[in-house]
Symmetry: C2
Subunit: 425 residues, 2 copies
C-alpha cells in the first residue's frame, strides 16, 4: 500500500535554487554578526511547554505545538528564539554580561495557513543582552545596515521610534489606560491609512479632540538630516516627561548612528511606529525595501527591558533584531542568479568514466563546480540534463577525445565547441 507523498498544510519544502539562495543569504550575514563580536548559540527546537508558556501573545500561545512526550513531559516546539534566549541566559550563569549572540533556526506556529505565511519558518536573530547603553541599540541598527548593504537588495530605509514616545503621547491624550488597543490601531497605519486608524480609535472610545491631538503627535515623521530638527521641535512641543525622555534617548541614538557612519538618507524617524509585539519597551526599528514596500519590514527589532522576567528576579534587558529570511528571499526571487560557472562532464562509454572523473577532479581543484554525469547515456539526454540544471558548459569525452587525450567543451549558451588537451586543464 503506497503512501501519498505530501507535506503538511502550512509547511514547505525548499527546492534547490531557493535553498541555495537562503544559504547564501545567511552566509552573507554570519561573518557580519561575527565581526561585531556576536557569537552563535543553538537551543533545542523542543522545550518544556512551561518554559514557553506565559510568553508572547494569547494568539501565539494558542498556536503553539504542544504535546506529551514518551516520558509524560509536557513539551512544545519553540515559537520564537527570544523565549529560549531568556531561558538560556538565566540557565547558564557564567556567560558574563553583556552577552551577544546570534541564532538561526526554525520556529513553529500553528497559524491559519495563508499565502506566504508558514507554520514553520526560519528566524535569524541577533541580540545584545545585559546592557542598558544606547550604544547597544545603535550597534544593532549598524548590524542591520551592514547586512542590508551586503545582501545587495537595493535601496532600503530603517525607520525607528521609541516606545516612550507612544507612552508619552498616550498620557498627553489621556488614553494611557487603553494603550494596548491604541498601539494595535496605530500599528496598522501603513495598512489601513489615517482614516482607518481614526475609525478604530473612535471605536475604542477616543473623542474627536483626542484623536486630533493624537494625530498631531503620532503622524510626525522625518527622513535623513531633518530628523535632528524634528526631535528638537518635538521637545519644544510637549512637556510630558515620558515623551521627553524618549526624545532625549532618540537624540543620543541618532547622534551615535551618525558617528557610526550610517548614511542618514537611509534613516527615518516616525512617531507612529509601534512594532506589534508587546515586549518592546525602548527604541524600536523596522526596515523596508524601496523596491518591495509590499513585503513590509524585512528586518525589525528593538529594546525589551523584561527579557528574563519569567525566569529570574534579577532584571536583564535585551536589544536585538530579526532578519526576515523568507521576505528577503521573496524580494530576491526574480533576481538573475549569479553563480560560479558550472560544468557537466559526460563520458560516452563506460571505459572513459575514470578518465572523466580525473578531469572533473582537476577542474574542481581549480574552484569550479563540476558534476560528473554518472551514467552512460546518449549525448542528447546529457545535454537536456545540463540545460535543466543550468550548467554553463558540457565537457564531452567520446572515442576521439579519449584516443587523443582531450576533452570537448560545449558552451550551452552559444552552442560553440572547442577541444582542450587533458594536460592543459
Amino acid at each position: 500500500m503506497l503512501i501519498t507523498p505530501r507535506t503538511l498544510s502550512g509547511f514547505k519544502d525548499y527546492m534547490p535554487e531557493e535553498a541555495l539562495q537562503k544559504e547564501n543569504l545567511l552566509q552573507t550575514c554570519i561573518p557580519i554578526f561575527r565581526s561585531f563580536g556576536f557569537m552563535p548559540i543553538q537551543t533545542p527546537h523542543l522545550e518544556y511547554a512551561e518554559i514557553l508558556s506565559k510568553q508572547g501573545s494569547e494568539e501565539i500561545q494558542k498556536e503553539m505545538y504542544r504535546f506529551t512526550d514518551h516520558g509524560g513531559r509536557e513539551v512544545a516546539l519553540r515559537f520564537d528564539q527570544t523565549v529560549p534566549l531568556a531561558r538560556f541566559v538565566t540557565q547558564h550563569k557564567n556567560l558574563g554580561m553583556p552577552f551577544k549572540r546570534y541564532a538561526i533556526g526554525n520556529v513553529f506556529r500553528g497559524e491559519r495557513a495563508q499565502k506566504g505565511r508558514y507554520r514553520e519558518f526560519t528566524q535569524c536573530d541577533f541580540d545584545f543582552v545585559g546592557s542598558d547603553s544606547v550604544c547597544a541599540d545603535a550597534e544593532i541598527v549598524q548590524v542591520i545596515d551592514t547586512c542590508m548593504q551586503a545582501l545587495d537588495v537595493g535601496a532600503f530605509c530603517i525607520a525607528f521610534n521609541h516606545r516612550k514616545i507612544l507612552d508619552g503621547i498616550a498620557q498627553m491624550v489621556d488614553v494611557a489606560q487603553n494603550l494596548p488597543a491604541v498601539l494595535r490601531a496605530i500599528d496598522k497605519l501603513d495598512k489601513i491609512g489615517k482614516e482607518g486608524v481614526e475609525s478604530e480609535l473612535r471605536n475604542i472610545g477616543l473623542s474627536h479632540e483626542q484623536i486630533a491631538r493624537f494625530f498631531d503627535f503620532v503622524l510626525l515623521e522625518a527622513k535623513g538630516e531633518k530628523i535632528g530638527t524634528m526631535l528638537a521641535d518635538a521637545l519644544q512641543k510637549a512637556d510630558n516627561p515620558t515623551f521627553q525622555q524618549g526624545v532625549h534617548e532618540l537624540q543620543q541614538f541618532y547622534t551615535l548612528l551618525q558617528a557610526l557612519g550610517i548614511c542618514t538618507n537611509r534613516l527615518r524617524l516616525a512617531f507612529s511606529i509601534a512594532r506589534g509585539l508587546g515586549y518592546y519597551t525602548g527604541i524600536v526599528y523596522e526596515t523596508t525595501l524601496d523596491s518591495h514596500p509590499e513585503l513590509g519590514s524585512v528586518c525589525s527589532g528593538g529594546r525589551y527591558d523584561n527579557l528574563t522576567q519569567n525566569f529570574a528576579t534579577e532584571k536583564l534587558s535585551g536589544v536585538g533584531a530579526s532578519i526576515g529570511i523568507d521576505r528577503l528571499l521573496a524580494a530576491l526571487e526574480h533576481r538573475p542568479k549569479t553563480q560560479n560557472q558550472k560544468t557537466l562532464v559526460v563520458a560516452m562509454e563506460l571505459e572513459y568514466l575514470a578518465y572523466c572523473a580525473k578531469a572533473a577532479a582537476t577542474l574542481r581543484a581549480k574552484g569550479m563546480v563540476v558534476e560528473l554525469y554518472p551514467d552512460i547515456v546518449r549525448l542528447k539526454k546529457a545535454l537536456q540534463y545540463a540545460n535543466t540544471r543550468g550548467y554553463d558548459r558540457v565537457a564531452i569525452v567520446g572515442s576521439d577525445e579519449f584516443a587523443q587525450q582531450t576533452i570537448t567543451f560545449k558552451d550551452m549558451q552559444s552552442g560553440e565547441q572547442h577541444s582542450k588537451s587533458i594536460d592543459s586543464l
Copy 2:
C-alpha cells in the same frame, strides 16, 4: 511565580564556542558539496506521521515524537533526513534524475538518554538519487575524502564493503534465513571482538563448522595497495554468484577511487562491515579517525536500492553518506581554537563612545572581529570581560587618547601597550 530555566532531558544547548565550531565545520563542507554539483534542499521538521511510519527499525518507530496537531492531523518530528528525501523525490515530479542534494538539519529520536547521545541531533547528509552507476558510489567516497581532508582532523581511514559480499557469505554458510541476526552480530565485531561475535552466532544457532567457515570469509580485510589482491583472491576462493557480483562491483569501485586520485593508504576493505541500518543493499563505507577510534564512524553511508518503495512503484535507488557532526566536534574539542584576532574597544567616558564606535567600524572594515564595549565601566572590569571572551587585545580610549586622537592597544597575552593615531588605523 518563576519558572526554573532548564532544557529537556536528552536535549542540549550549544554554547558559543561549540556552536561556532559546528558552524565552521559545516561551512567547510558546504562549498565541497556544491563543487560536486550537490544542491541544498530543506524539508520540514514536522511531517505526517504516516510518511515517517513503516520506515527505519522498530526501535526508531517507537522512539518517534508523534502527536496530534491543532487540525487533528497525526504528525511526527522526523527521525532522519532520508525518509523525507524519499518523500521529496516522489512528491516533486520534475526534479530530473540523477538528483544530487545535501541537507543539514536536526532530527529527533526519543532514545533512552545516555552520555554523548542526544534526542535531538544534527545530520549532514549528501545523497545521489536515481543513478545505478558505481561512479556515483565512488563520488560519494570522494566527497567524504575531500571533506575529511578539509576539516583537518588528522589521519583517517575509509573502510568499505558490499552488502552482496555478506549476502553471498551467508548463502555459502547456509545462514541466509538468519541474515538480519547474523548482520547484527557481525556489526558488533569492533565492540565485542571475535569471541563475542562467535558466542552471538552460536546463540543464533550456527554450528561450530558454520562459524569457522563464516569467519574464514568475513574476517578478510586489506589496507591500501593490498586491496586489489584481496579482491582477486576472494574471487578465486568462492563460487557463489552473489558474492562474486559483490567482488566485481568492489573491483570497479576500487579502480574508480584510484582514478579519482584518492590515496589508497586511507582505504580499507573489510568483509565484516555491515552498517547497522537495514536499508543498505550495495557498497557501504564508514570513516574512522586514527586519533579517535573510540568515536566510531564519523562519516558513513552506502547504496540503498529501495529508497522510494513506500511512496512509488517506480524504483529509485540512492547512494549517500552522512557526516557525524557531533562526533567530529568531540574530536575537535581539545584543539586550540584558531580564530581571527579579536579586539575589544573600551571607552572610559560616555562622550568618547562615538569616537570609539567610529574606530571600531574602521577596524571592522579591515576584516577584524571588533566588539565595542557598550557601557562605561572601570578598566579592570572591561579587561576581565576581554579575558573571559578570549579577546586578543583591548583598545582603550581615555581622556589622553581622546585629546590626542589616538587609541591605546593593550595585548592581553603579553600585557604590552602601544598607542596609535586614529588616522593610522
